[in-house]
Amino acid sequence: MIEFQKVCIRAGDFQLKDVSFEIGSGQYAVLMGRTGRGKTTILESLCGLRRVQSGKIMIRGMDVTDWPPGDREIGYVPQDLALFPTFSVAEHLKFALHLRRFHATQIEHRVSELAEMLSITHLLKRQIEGLSGGESQRVALGRALSFRPTVLLLDEPLSALDAETREEIQALLRTLTDNTGVTTLHITHNAAEATALADRRFHIVDGQVTEESVNQAEQASRSDSPAG
């Protein structure tokens, strides 16, 4: 479903060289690595917000390397969520559907469906100012999933949440991705979060993306846990 083929990306002085990995359809992959190693850069390249110097990015078997972001059918939730300050919650959910010229009744139906799925029906008329961290996260997820993308990219979606909300959103992510079958790439620093969510687990070290085996992942999870 997602394939990086020897992708080179330059971002200022920082450079990723010959990055290659693939994620199968419907899988939930987690990408880990220390701060400043290029995790967000990979996500931005995947959704077309950053140009790559060389290599190919394939989605659904198509070379999308030079495609504009809107044509890639990717739902993106950045770390700061980047909600639209002048929009209501409902307008966030409608936005991509309006751009795709869906019929008004289809839009209303989809918004109701999403709001129910994300438990934000009571928030639909609210402006985003004053929403809690968990509520904002749900709105950002709803906006990203509204047009039924085939790929979902999550940049540290749980990092700014308290423990209780984090568990809540973590469970929601698992349910959403299982129900929609969307292929997900999720960036995190948290090994426990990765263990709870990931079908596959990648690590970025020295500009290279490598997949961890199940044993390595369990080992890392143990060493990251407070008891360990």
Partner: protein, 257 residues
């Protein structure tokens, strides 16, 4: 520190107080009832408004461009935009005059506008607007650039992943967030246009009832020894400037703090 700051504030207050004490209400009324001054007032309101609207129309996309994109020549454009701010006003007026009358072979901009388009500019009211626009637009661009610098570009990125073009992301996401900055930029442009004098004098002249605006009225009244009328018009301009500044503060954009 506070003593020096107080001195400056005191100076401004004293300047206005001196103007107020110099003239009486009767003098002020007599001055503003003069047909020449009323005509200058009307032209000032009209020209400042047109110059401010033109400025925001140009400044919004240009400010966005300078804030969001890195491209070859960006530094040069950034510098060119600032030139009217640092240029002596008379030089700007002189440059406008030369531009409109410089012959390119047999072709001259002013002659073409006058003879072929039927819209002469130099020493007429359009010259007033162009002179005001040349300076006020630079301030509007600066204000809009700061406005867009303060808006998170990530929201526009997300909008693009949702299906927006760059243009749609600007119009639907960035622009609605920039309304306070747009009002601030329009107000600043309007205030700058109000205070413009040098370029207008050189490029549009100071013909009574034709190209006279309030700033040139002060000059004309002074030149014929009508100090009371000059002070009255000055106070009128102070009042207009205060209204503009109050609007800015009320909007609370933080851009002028």
């Amino acid at each position: 520190m506070s003593g020096i700051s107080s001195c400056f504030i005191l100076l401004i207050v004293l300047l206005i107080a001196a103007d107020l004490m110099f003239t009486s209400f009767e003098d002020f009324r007599a001055a503003v009832m003069k047909p020449e001054i009323q005509s200058a007032f009307r032209l000032t309101i009209l020209s400042c408004t047109i110059a401010a609207l033109l400025s925001i129309w140009v400044a919004t996309p240009l400010g966005y461009l300078l804030s969001r994109y890195r491209f070859p020549g960006r530094l040069l454009i950034d510098t060119i935009v600032d030139i009217p701010i640092v240029l002596p006003p008379l030089v700007l007026g002189l440059s406008l005059l030369i531009l409109f009358h410089l012959p390119f072979g047999n072709w001259e901009l002013e002659a073409w506008l006058r003879d072929d388009v039927g819209f002469p500019v130099t020493y007429r009211w359009p010259a007033v607007i162009l002179a005001q626009f040349s300076v006020s637009c630079a301030f509007a661009v600066r204000t809009m650039r700061v406005t867009f610098d303060q808006i998170n570009p990530r929201a526009e990125d997300v909008a693009r992943t949702l299906g927006c073009t760059r243009g749609q992301a600007f119009l639907q996401i960035a622009l609605p967030q920039s309304w306070r900055g747009m009002i601030a930029a329009t107000t600043i442009a309007w205030a700058r246009a109000l205070g413009e004098f040098g370029p207008i004098l050189v490029f549009a002249g100071a013909t009574r009832m034709r190209t006279e605006v309030l700033s040139t009225t002060v000059f004309l009244e002074l030149s014929i020894g009508q100090l009371n009328a000059a002070v009255a018009v000055s106070l009128l301009m102070v009042a207009m400037a205060v209204v503009v500044l109050v609007v800015l503060r009320v909007l609370g954009t933080g851009l002028t703090s």
